[in-house]
Amino acid sequence: MNTACNDRERIFLDGTAEEWAALEVHATTCSACREELNAWNNLSLTASDLHQEWDSPALWPRIERALREQSAPPRWSWWKRFFGSWNLISLQWQTAAAALLLVVLTGSAIWFIARSDRHRIPENQALFNDHTVREVEKAEAAYEQAIDKLDAQARPQLDNASTPLMASYREKLQVLDSAIADLRAQAGINPANGHLRRQLLAMYQEKQDTLEQVLEAKQQ
């Protein structure tokens, strides 16, 4: 076998016994190959000295258990058992799923619209139902929170009212507070009366607007 220096790298990696023998014969006449071969042999000896072995008693049982579980029949959940036999990738099922999705979306839209419609405060209803009363109470609570925040900001300006405008705002807020107190008292004994609730919301709105005007005047 004619072995060239160019083949020695390949022989080092995966050469056959015959190729190794041929390389060693060639190395006797080629100094470059001889040096490479000696270096490789030294490296192999050093590596074999570094080799260590230790016991791994738990490794194989773990691998064995994993293989056993993989080969055993799957333990399906109720949901998988329920839908397992349906062949969900068929065209028939895809069509059905699309139709159902459409129905669900339509139903959700109707539900959402109907629900948002119910959130509106009826304009002419004499007595509110429970749900509307709860919605109104939520709105009132939101107004009260907003008003408290605005009032905290505007209060120093109002308490030290040095201008006629601020004095006027303060007077207006007192008038509104009086009306709100009156309406709240009435709503306490007549909670679902539609007019009382609408009027109370209107007064809250006006108080909020007035406080915002006070703050705007302060900024100016």
Binding site: G107, A126, D130, P164, V175, I189, N193, H195, L196
Partner: protein, 510 residues
């Protein structure tokens, strides 16, 4: 053989899935529409008819509900009421419903309708329910009969009641149309009055007021809310507070007072008086005079038939087409006037003055603003301290005093007098006949242009400047580098030019 079995299994599975998934939107929709409150609402109707005689009227005393009253032909009063009670307990609801009474009393002055609610209805908390009530009225009454109405916590709507009506509401709107004379009072609700044949008085505390087409006079007060009034045949007296006021088309002397909102007035047949504290005033189309006062807002007055008097502290003033004399007193705003047919007297502290096309005399005074006048038929008098004075085409005499700025007068037909201290004086006299000219300044230049054929006796003096003349002067008396006495032409008028530290130039007007 196995195919039918598989098909059957798949069909069953398909139907099962369709049933489960299809139920979802059905349940959603059902939940949206199907939820109803577990409240018991009970209703009772009340009906009663009585007949009025003579001058009898109708009185209604109500609260917690809506009242609708409408005038009808005939003498009958038809009272309809709907009583509603809502409660989580049906028996309680029915019991409370029966306790709400509609009292109808017939007395000498007419029919008295009153709603009586059970007393001591204390607040109580129940799980899942509220106890509430309301009474709504619909009353038909003779259109010409008087009406007294008092309502609270509900809207009141009155239509076609042409007898005298007094209506008082609180916490609800008061809506009146096709009325006679009326007195309307409200608190915390708007008032709307449309078409009234008599005099009307309206008082509101906190709500908008809108009045249209009143054949009589209108007296209107509102504390916190906008006012809009139009088509008032008689005089209108409006007192606003913290909202905008608009008055359009009033048939008599009208007045508007307001505190913190714009006032707009249009088409007044008579005099108008507007007093505002902190808002703009805009008045136009007034056949009589106008007195307009505000503190912190601009004033616009247009097409005023009589005298116009404006007082403003901190806003600009603009007057256009005033048939009468215009008097403006301002502190910190610009004053502009044009087409003033009887002249103007304008005094301002720190604003400029601009007056054009004035038929009469002008007196303009400011301290820290400029004065500009053009096309003035009468006399022009300007007093300024720190602003320039410019005037063109003045047919009458011109008299100007200022201290620290320039004076420029062009085309003055009458006598010219300028007293300046630290500003230049530049004057062009006009007219075929000469008028006396007296110009004085201390630390600037004096330039005067005279008509070519005019004759003057000239007296010019400056301490640290030169006297130059393009016109031939026949010297008389003392003549030096800093003083000159002599005559131009026939020497008919006096030309007195006095300076201290500036040149004096005499030239021919172009």
């Amino acid at each position: 053989m196995s195919h039918p079995v598989h098909y059957s299994q798949r069909s069953a599975a398909f139907l099962r899935a369709a049933a489960v998934l299809g139920a979802i939107p059905v349940l959603l929709v059902a939940s949206a529409f199907g939820r109803r409150p577990a409240q018991n609402e009970v209703t009772r109707d009340f009906q009663k008819t009585v007949t009025l005689t003579g001058n009898q009227g109708v009185s209604v005393d109500h609260r917690l509900g809506r009242v609708v009253v409408h005038g009808e032909p005939g003498r009958e009063v038809k009272i309809s009421a709907t009583i509603r009670v809502q409660d989580s307990n049906a028996n309680d609801a029915q019991d409370f419903l029966q306790k709400i009474q509609i009292e109808v009393r017939e007395e000498g002055d007419g029919v008295h309708v009153r709603t009586i609610y059970p007393e001591s209805r204390l607040p109580h908390i129940r799980i899942g329910g509220h106890s509430s009530y309301s009474v709504d009225y619909d009353i038909a009454m003779p259109a010409e009969a008087p009406l007294w109405l008092r309502n609270a916590f509900g809207n009141a709507e009155i239509a076609g009641v042409r007898g005298w009506a007094q209506m008082e509401n609180s916490n609800g709107a008061l809506l009146v149309r096709d009325a006679g004379g009326a007195k309307l009072v409200n608190a915390f609700g708007k008032i709307e009055l449309t078409n009234a044949t008599g005099n009307c008085s309206i008082t509101n505390n906190n709500g908008a007021v809108n009045v249209t087409n009143v054949k009589g006079t209108l007296e209107l007060r509102n504390r916190f809310g906008e006012i809009v009034a139009s088509q008032i045949a008689g005089a209108a007296t409006i007192s606003g507070g913290n909202g905008r006021v608009s008055l359009t088309q009033a048939g008599g002397n009208s007045s508007v007072s307001n505190s913190f909102g714009e006032v707009v007035v249009r088409n007044i047949a008579g005099n108008v008086s507007v007093t505002n504290s902190n808002g703009r005033i805009d008045v136009a189309e007034v056949s009589g005079g106008a007195e307009l006062t505000t503190s912190f807002g601009a004033v616009e007055a247009t097409r005023i038939g009589g005298a116009t008097t404006i007082k403003d502290s901190n806003g600009s003033v603009h007057v256009t087409e005033a048939q009468g004399f215009v008097s403006v007193n301002s502190s910190f705003g610009t004053v502009k006037g044009s087409q003033l047919y009887k002249g103007a007297n304008v005094v301002t502290g720190n604003g400029g003055i601009e007056l054009t096309n004035v038929q009469g005399e002008i007196y303009a005074k400011t301290s820290f603003g400029s004065i500009y006048a053009e096309n003035v038929k009468g006399k022009f008098t300007a007093q300024d301290s720190n602003g320039s004075v410019t005037a063109k085409a003045i047919e009458g005499d011109a008299s100007v005093t200022t201290s620290f700025s320039g004076v420029s007068l062009e085309g003055v037909g009458g006598k010219i007098t300028v007293e300046n201290q630290n500003g230049a004086v530049d004057v062009t006299a006009s007219g075929s006949s000469c008028k006396d000219v007296s110009l004085r300044t201390s630390f600037s230049h004096i330039g005067v242009r005279l008509p070519a054929n005019a004759g003057y006796r000239i007296k010019a003096r400056t301490s640290f400047g030169r006297i130059n003349s393009q016109m031939p002067i026949t010297a008389s008396g003392a003549m030096g580098g800093d003083s000159l006495e002599g005559t131009i032409g026939n020497g008919g008028c006096l030309l007195e030019l006095t300076n201290s530290n500036g040149n004096i130039d005499i030239s021919k007007a172009q």
